[in-house]
């Protein structure tokens, strides 16, 4: 992080003075934290808002922006130049630069609060300058400009003023009122609310010490120097204010199946907090919700890992693009399906039960199949060695593999899985015959003592050229040739892979049992690998863009180039969900690279 620069020794002194202000406020909280309600609907706080400017202006981020064609065009546009000129004009009047002005005006912190007073929103924005003298000067200058402009146009003075307990309030419309209070700029959405804020500043606000959820978050923000801002939303109040914010008990069955306890927490949590951090090499975002006060219901408790359990560790085969790892006890959830799913979904599950029985030797789906599958689920996506493919498909797709743990003492089930794979291949070939598509040829190979059941599509054959005639133009190879479906059992882990190459690469990684992580779910994506995938399919993606969006070639190439640059810049992303007794946390971390 860059060292904080002050506009002048005076500004530094002012900031220091504000930090040791006699007004009671939490350590390192921006000035004005006691001027807003403790139980505001929305509370956003930034002790170091200029950090955002630092990051935005950092050479690496500017280089990234420079690689985006749309941004370059915007910078070179007349519209941008006109806006820049206006900003520069105002900055020149104030004897500063726009960057310096922002730092001087907001360098001491920022608070945004939205309360509900008498059923109406009362919004407060408090900006603490690092240079209070600059704030006073800028404020006076801008008022003078507005008045002069109005006068030049023959209009009345647009600024209304009123004094409240010795502090002058200004208003340019009925929906705005502001004042400089204790060297900070306070902007509200009504004169009445401005008076309330001034009263709080002078008298101290009612309601006592801030609640723990606020102080804890403030301390966390302070402990991380990369924190740009954090905020807290009172979900209870939001739900009471507008029922559309309440998540209904019955929603899409798929969402319930995937996110059951998290939806339950969102339905019942009194608040949710979020924090955003931006460091030199990574950007993170964190969202936290308290667990329901009376705990999860028996149904949703089945989704939560027991102590010491969690999602299995990620797999990192060669060329990995993405990884999804999940702890989920499907057998236990299957027992309470009637409480989770609506009747029409249950009918589908009954069919699945019957269908699965045919493939798994008459086993009951819940107790016979899901119970034998364990709780560790992993999905791995990886690049393929396209150069070694034969034939090389025109659209190059990644390989993916589903990795599932199986019950260690159920060898018959492992055998059933292998047979089920062969049955699916047979069914696929029947369908292919009807569609005149090439069939899958089955085989097997052994890698490091592990037998892999393999399949591959028969290669298309070009007709032989007749004597004296040129060879026929080869047709694009169908995307199906990206797939060589394979299955294998490594110890207690069953793998269903779209590609033999990925299956081979997973064998050594699966020889060691997976460790349990502390999170319930982990999603990990490599942006650079994705960017490579975009690059090798670029011409096709450009054409697709032209057809689907109606763009010309230059615009389509620009949009695909932008996608590639974004993926390269956000070089690696990890998202996790953790269920603890007291709270649910979602965490996103994006490693930053360069656009090229």
């Amino acid at each position: 992080m860059k060292p904080r620069r002050f506009a002048s020794p005076l500004a530094a002194l002012a900031l220091f003075a504000s930090t040791i202000s006699p007004l009671a406020r939490a350590a390192d909280a921006p000035l004005g934290v006691d001027w807003v309600s403790n139980d505001a609907l929305v509370h956003v706080e930034s002790a170091r808002p200029t950090l955002l400017l630092d990051r935005f202006l950092s050479p690496s981020f500017q280089a990234y922006l420079g690689a985006i064609p749309q941004y370059k065009r915007y910078i070179e546009s007349a519209e941008f130049k006109q806006q820049s000129a206006q900003i520069e004009f105002v900055a020149t009047l104030l004897d500063t630069t726009w960057e310096r002005a922002i730092r001087d005006l907001a360098g001491g912190g920022l608070i945004l609060s939205a309360e509900v007073v008498d059923g109406k929103p009362a919004v407060t924005l408090i900006l603490t300058p690092s240079d209070p003298a600059f704030l006073a000067k800028a404020h006076t200058k801008l008022l003078d400009l507005a008045r002069a402009d109005a006068k030049g146009k023959g209009n009345p003075d647009p600024i209304k003023t009123a004094d409240h307990r010795g502090i002058t309030g200004y208003s340019v419309s009925s929906e705005e009122a502001h004042a400089i209070v204790r060297d900070a700029l306070v902007i509200t959405n009504s004169p009445k609310h401005l008076k309330t804020v001034i009263d709080r500043a002078l008298d101290g606000k009612p309601g006592g010490a801030p609640p723990r959820e606020l102080t804890d978050r403030r301390i966390q923000a302070k402990s991380n120097t990369d924190t740009i801002a954090w905020g807290l939303v009172r979900l209870e109040k939001l739900r009471a204010l507008d029922p559309k914010f309440a998540i209904p008990e019955k929603i899409d069955p798929g969402a319930t199946f995937l996110f059951g306890p998290w939806l339950e927490a969102a339905r019942k949590a009194p608040w949710a907090s979020a924090a955003i951090r931006w460091g030199d090499v990574a950007m993170t975002a964190e969202v936290e919700l308290p667990a329901p006060r009376d705990g999860y219901s028996d149904t949703y408790r089945r989704y939560l890992p027991k102590p010491g359990q969690g999602a299995p560790q990620l797999l990192a085969p060669k060329g990995v693009i993405g990884n999804f790892s999940l702890w989920r006890d499907l057998a236990s959830i299957w027992e309470v399906r009637a409480e989770i799913f609506p009747p029409e979904a249950l009918q589908g599950l009954a069919q699945l039960d019957s269908f699965a029985g045919q493939f798994f030797g008459g086993r009951e789906f819940g107790s016979g199949v899901l119970a034998s599958l364990g709780t560790n689920w992993r999905l791995v996506v990886a690049e393929q060695d396209y150069a070694k493919m034969s034939p090389v498909p025109d659209i190059k797709l990644p390989a993916f593999a589903l990795v599932i743990d199986t019950a260690p003492d159920d060898e018959e089930f492992a055998q059933r899985l292998r047979v089920a794979f062969q049955s699916f291949v047979g069914l696929a070939n029947l369908g292919a015959a009807q569609e005149k598509a090439p069939p899958l040829e089955s085989g097997s190979e052994t890698v490091d003592g592990v037998t892999i059941l393999t399949t591959h599509f028969l290669s298309p054959k070009a007709p032989a050229a007749k004597p004296g005639e040129p060879a026929a133009q080869p047709e694009p190879v169908h995307q199906r040739h990206n797939f060589t479906p394979s299955a294998m059992q490594v110890g207690n882990t069953f793998v269903l892979s779209s590609s033999i190459g990925l299956a081979r690469d997973l064998v050594p990684l699966l020889k060691t049992p997976a460790k349990s992580m502390t999170e319930t779910a982990i999603l990990d994506v490599d942006g650079r690998a994705l960017a490579r995938l975009v690059e090798i399919n670029k011409s096709r993606l450009v054409m697709q863009n032209m057809l689907e969006k109606g763009n010309d070639r230059a615009k389509a190439e620009s949009e695909i180039g932008f996608l590639e640059a974004v993926l390269r810049y956000f070089s690696h992303a990890t998202m996790t969900a953790s269920d603890a007794n007291e709270s649910l946390r979602f965490f996103l971390k994006v490693d930053l690279g360069t656009a090229k």
Partner: protein, 450 residues
């Protein structure tokens, strides 16, 4: 009742039109030319061609423009579309291949070529639904385009070996022991002569000539051992004919050129009035004498007195593709243009799914394009195109700005651009916004006609 002028005077009918005080080269005539010979023109093209005169306007349609609507040179545009088509996987779905063609139609520098390719697609109707291979359909489309205003002899010869056509007609296996009559029947009835101009025996004999022709692994192949090398008699000619000999025999028939010229007459002149035999015969004579150069009858028609007579305007119903592509081009929704798959879906909903004609006879056309459901879909298309809500089709046109850019008041602009003299000024509200005006005109009954 036939109301066409010059019915019994072919020389006068097909003589080149010369502008006069009574029949001036005006906006209505320029717009008529583009409606029939392309997909409707934008304002700049109408104004340019009005200034240039009929000869230059027809020349440009026959030879194509130098640049496509997206700004690329014509050759670069053709190369781009060829690359798109060549990369179609056999299993690509209908909206992809339809979208590629519609994208080409919207931006093409050669609207007459695309208009004629669409005509031949209807003439040699083949459906992806049965062929099941988008790459083969694209190859057939490329063949039709390559000869769209070229050599009918070459096109007829090539279509007989086109895998998509042979799969469509269940003619992938033609053995000596059991000649397959499907292609022989269709080539006479639908492609070259028309019903009643051949006998059942002619079909059987021609089918013997086609024995030995197969489609193997999606390619046309010939197996000599399966060819019936015996003598055959087809349309009065006898010999040891092979499949390649049949098109020449068909083209020697006077009925062949007449059959095709009658269809061209319906395409360019009128689908309401029966084609007068004297006019068709005169046109067919030129066609035959040219060695079946398609450009000859097309050019004759487009330059003729008959074509430019005011009475033949709006004697056709626009097909959904003409309607949709023409509107997109006329309203300059070209940079960016609309989503091609969405345009394909819109055309299908209006009743014309490209590459999926309903039968070997193609689309019924004419009044069958217009029914309550089709009209609802046409109106919905216009509303989507001129609105802002539909991401795939809308948000690309600002009707007020478009009229202003060309320096014409909205009322005059949308009437003159889209319907010209077909709508009296009093038929349109004077005080309404440009978007509403454009919708009113484009959804009017008059605009449904070509």
């Amino acid at each position: 009742m036939n109301s066409l002028p010059h019915q019994s005077d072919p020389a006068r009918a097909w003589a080149p039109y010369e502008p006069s005080a009574r029949d001036p080269w005006d906006l209505a005539r320029v717009a008529h030319l583009h409606r029939r010979a392309g997909f409707a023109a934008d304002w700049s093209t109408l104004v340019r061609d009005r200034e240039a005169g009929p000869k230059a306007a027809v020349d440009r349609l026959l030879d194509g423009e130098s640049h496509a609507r997206d700004g690329q040179t014509a050759s670069d545009f053709d190369a781009l579309l060829a690359a798109m088509g060549s990369r179609l996987a056999p299993g690509a779905n209908a909206s992809v291949i339809q979208g590629i063609w519609l994208y080409r139609m919207v931006l093409t520098p050669h609207p007459l070529r695309e208009r004629m390719t669409l005509f031949w697609h209807d003439h040699f109707a083949t459906s992806l639904n049965k062929v099941g291979n988008a790459a083969l359909m694209q190859r057939q489309n490329d063949l039709l385009r390559s000869q769209a205003i070229g050599d009918f002899k070459a096109m007829l010869a090539a279509i007989g070996k086109d895998p998509a056509m042979l799969i469509w007609l269940d003619s992938t296996s033609n053995k000596k022991a059991k000649p397959n009559e499907n292609y022989a029947r269709e080539v006479m009835e639908l492609f070259a002569l028309g019903r009643g101009r051949y006998s059942e025996k002619d079909i059987q004999e021609a089918a013997r000539a086609f024995t030995g022709w197969f489609v193997i692994r999606d390619r046309w192949s010939e197996i000599p051992s399966q060819h019936d090398d015996g003598p055959k008699t087809v349309l009065g000619k006898t010999g040891r004919f092979r499949g390649e000999d049949i098109p020449a025999i068909l083209l020697e028939q006077e009925a062949c050129a007449e059959f095709l010229c009658e269809k061209l007459f319906r395409l360019f002149v009128s689908e309401v009035d029966p084609a007068p035999p004297a006019l068709v015969k005169a046109l067919a004579k030129r066609f035959r004498e040219s060695g079946y150069a398609i450009r000859v009858p097309v050019e004759t028609i487009l330059r003729s007195n008959l074509f430019h007579d005011a009475s033949v305007r709006r004697r056709r119903v626009k097909s959904p593709v003409e309607y949709a592509v023409g509107t997109v081009r006329a309203l300059e929704a070209t940079k960016p243009t609309v989503s091609a798959p969405a345009l394909a879906d819109a055309c299908s909903r209006m009743g014309q799914g490209l590459y999926t004609p309903p039968s070997v006879a193609g689309w019924d056309g004419g009044p069958s394009w217009i029914n309550t459901t089709a009209m609802l879909h046409r109106t919905n298309f216009i509303l989507a195109l001129l609105g802002k809500d539909d991401e795939a089709l809308g948000g690309r046109i600002d009707p007020a700005a478009l009229a202003e850019r060309h320096g014409v008041a909205p009322l005059e602009f949308y009437r003159d651009l889209l319907v010209q003299d077909a709508l009296a000024p009093a038929a349109l509200p004077t005080k309404t916004d440009a978007r509403e005006l454009a919708v009113l005109v484009a959804a009017s009954p008059e605009y449904q006609l070509a």
